[in-house]
């Protein structure tokens, strides 16, 4: 029984790692622009689909991965330029509708490009499953966890140690004053979409060898990413990391013990509880009733 639960936990860690990456994208965009980007999951799908279809066409994995991240970043850039920026006068609810429309449009676009067939991607490295206290992780899980480590370390260093990162923090803390000091808010908003999309795309590339990918995969990633982001705190990057892993583990254990159908249900029950009891999330700072 214990061994079984441990195996569920390990499975949850792999899912949690990808949820954390999606959540990081949410948090970046939300912090910089105040927008909840309902299309975040689609960046993961675009990354996974691009890498998988290029690899299927015979391109070496590393090249396919690099192009996939680039394509995802471009999709993020175009999303901002075509859908978000022209609506800059819009307020809260309208922006929700716009990113929802973006999500629907990107999923429909994927149907044109890739059709309804599922794609798969070979694992980046061969070898045996990694044993850990009697449980097992697929070798690809190491790539996923390593990606988390690198992405979150890079984000931390950027915000804590660089001039540009400090400027972004200033812009988040007080946009009008930051703007007075010449901080380009709009450029930061653009950049947040590009970086969030690239992170999502990278996540899609490294996770795809495990579950495969198809045109509507972004929905699941996006929904799980929200829960993780809200759970951790919408304004906290460490919260996104923590929220992702907590959600992945809780979902897997609950799904294993109850029934697979409850996996998602438990995640969303948690989301409701967090929204009601602690809207700032586990590591978030202030209660923002917006």
């Amino acid at each position: 029984m214990i061994a079984q639960i441990w195996q569920y936990v390990l499975g949850g860690v792999v899912d949690g790692a990808i949820f954390a990456l999606v959540a990081a994208g949410f948090v970046l965009i939300y912090q910089v622009t105040g927008i909840i980007n309902f299309a975040q999951g689609e960046f993961v799908m675009v990354g996974g689909m691009t890498a998988a279809s290029l690899a299927a066409a015979g391109m070496p994995p590393l090249g396919a991965a690099a192009i996939a991240v680039l394509v995802a970043a471009c999709v993020g850039a175009l999303s901002y330029l075509l859908a978000i920026r022209p609506a800059r006068a819009a307020t809260g609810v309208t922006l929700i509708f716009i990113t929802l429309g973006l999500d629907v449009a990107l999923r429909g676009l994927a149907l044109f490009v890739w059709g309804t067939n599922p794609y798969s991607l070979p694992a980046f490295s061969g070898g045996n499953a990694v044993k850990l206290f009697g449980g097992a992780l697929p070798p690809q899980a190491m790539w996923v966890l390593g990606t988390d480590l690198i992405v979150f370390a890079a984000l931390y260093l950027f915000f804590a140690r660089t001039y540009a990162g400090t400027a972004v923090r200033a812009a988040v803390a007080n946009p009008p004053i930051a703007s007075t000091f010449g901080i380009p808010l709009r450029t930061f908003a653009f950049a947040s979409f590009v970086v969030a999309a690239a992170i999502g795309g990278l996540g899609g590339v490294v996770i795809t060898p495990i579950p495969g990918v198809q045109y509507d995969a972004g929905l699941t990633y996006g929904l799980a990413g929200f829960v993780a982001a809200v759970l951790g705190g919408l304004d906290s990057l460490p919260g996104a990391l923590l929220g992702g892993f907590v959600l992945g583990i809780v979902e897997h254990v609950a799904g294993g013990l109850l029934s697979p159908g409850w996996e998602q249900g438990v995640g969303f029950l948690i989301l409701v509880l967090v929204l009601v009891l602690r809207p700032q999330g586990l590591l978030g700072r202030a209660v923002r009733r917006a």
Partner: protein
Amino acid sequence: MSFAPANAHGRVALVVLAVVAAAVWFLPAYYTGLLTLIGIYSLVTIGLNLFMGYAGQVSLGQAAFVGIGAYTSAVLAVDLHVTPWLGAVGGAAVAALVAYVLSFVALRLRENLLALATLALGIVINVVFNEWEFIGGSSGFKDIPGFTLGAFTFDPRAYAILSWALVAAGIWFAGNLVRSSFGRTLIAISAGELGAQALGVDPEKLKRQTFVLSAVYAGVAGAVYASYQSYIDPSSFSFLLSVNFVLMSVIGGLRSLWGAVIGAAIVVALGQVLQALVPLVLPSARGDFQQFFLGAVLIAILILLPRGLAGRLSEARRA
């Protein structure tokens, strides 16, 4: 609150109902089916427009209330042999009850967080549909009895007329509502809750009443849908359907009752047209690719015509 026996909305609705009732005798079965679907979706969207457009809130879980109405009516009809007419009343009542209970959770939140909470509740309810064996679990409910009137069992034409009669009634009721002090107070809430509160309005209570009313519209629509299709399963009421209701609502025009009908008609009709035309240009196109255009239309409308198509039309009329 005074209710006029007929308002402008109600009169137009009667004309539209008469046109539909006449048209179904000439239209091929395929178009009658589309009309029925548009009617059912319109009903949901009218309720959603009251909540989103007039009260200024957001719901990404409306499909769950349609599902609750459908399942309630199906259980009543199949297990307890209750006529679908009462089933629809029961479906609306259960949907209203669930909305009432959930409103204490969801309506404390605003904008972004309200969107996430309604999304989450909708998905949790869908998981319950999937996992609850009593209502068929993932395999759904089969052989749901149809509506009857005396010895007459409803055929597709009768369903088209029934759904549009409900649209007419729904528009008439909502038309009275939005012109009453209740409707004006809702608009005040959407303009700013603090200001409304200062005038002695209880925003919490009004938002709750509107949310429950939107669930009643959705519940009735769900009950009609269940009998019309005679088969339902959890995937019929997924998050994607909730998103489609938002598309209809926003494309038609949030703060407009006819906008709901226009939006539902555009989403259904444009979907069918694109499904027929696009494969001629791109033979590889498969699946629900029309969603790409609908999403793009939604964004374009929000940027170019923030009040939706219906808002645009009424501006043009005034000018």
